[in-house]
Symmetry: C2
Subunit: 147 residues, 2 copies
Amino acid sequence: MTDPQARFEQLIAKLRTSEYRLTPQRVELIRLIATSDGHPSASELYSQIRIQFPTMSLATVYKTLDLLKELGEVLEIGLRDDSHYDGNKPYPHPHLICMKCRKIMDGELELAVKNIVQEVEQSFGFQILKHQLDFYGLCPDCQKKKK
Amino acid sequence: MTDPQARFEQLIAKLRTSEYRLTPQRVELIRLIATSDGHPSASELYSQIRIQFPTMSLATVYKTLDLLKELGEVLEIGLRDDSHYDGNKPYPHPHLICMKCRKIMDGELELAVKNIVQEVEQSFGFQILKHQLDFYGLCPDCQKKKK
DNA sequence: CTAACTGCAAAAACTTTGCACTTTT
DNA sequence: AAAAGTGCAAAGTTTTTGCAGTTAG
């Protein structure tokens, strides 16, 4: 995992070199998404930002997320209900979603993913460009509580 | 792949034994979803059904799909844009989605999936109950056309 | 006959868009 | 000063819901 502060500065630098403007709203959203170790949704980010910027609109949150998506610095995870965003690992990777507490964990499974992608390409002649691998179930904590 | 006619009769039988009513609208939707070898969306099913039942409403399509989902006879595939439904293999399995022609193929990868699920469970202590594995890329046909 | 189902229309939930105003550079 | 970004409100999508009328069993 990257250092949040370093990630924040990296994102700011990217916007600067890409000649995008650094508005306070953008900087704050970037700070949040770089600091967050989870997978916030647009409305979660919105609520957080409104603490510092009461005038911030949801539209701006989406516009900024779109911008970061275009830059390849944020990954959108589209679940059944609503989308969540990962600004720390902006490349496809598996997610483990707890069906009880709704927590989203990252699956560190590089080798296994590489293998299954390779198998898909070989078996079906598909050229895989990206993927979304979501595993739903019970996280360790919720399994304990259940007993 | 199951025989469409057999699958249709199987679904009808399930509704009958579950004491759900066999309305013409339901029977037609079931016929479509059993016959379809693809992964129709709600609105695609709606358009199809309106050929036979011009008064059919989208609400009824969704209500019927919900019913079939509850019965475990239809799998919902929630993509970024809209959901598609599979009435022939109503259990989680990988999908290969062509980013050019939007075609959805089934990935027959039982062993590979079993392995990766097992690895997730072991590595993270997660108890996996279901999954959604989507691979996006170019299908063989679109790769050829590209050249 | 009655409980279940349909269709309509309205609502819900999330995201996008247009435009006047404001701010970064 | 000019271009870019913000905020508001309206519109767009897909799915859900409530209810009066209709129909399968």
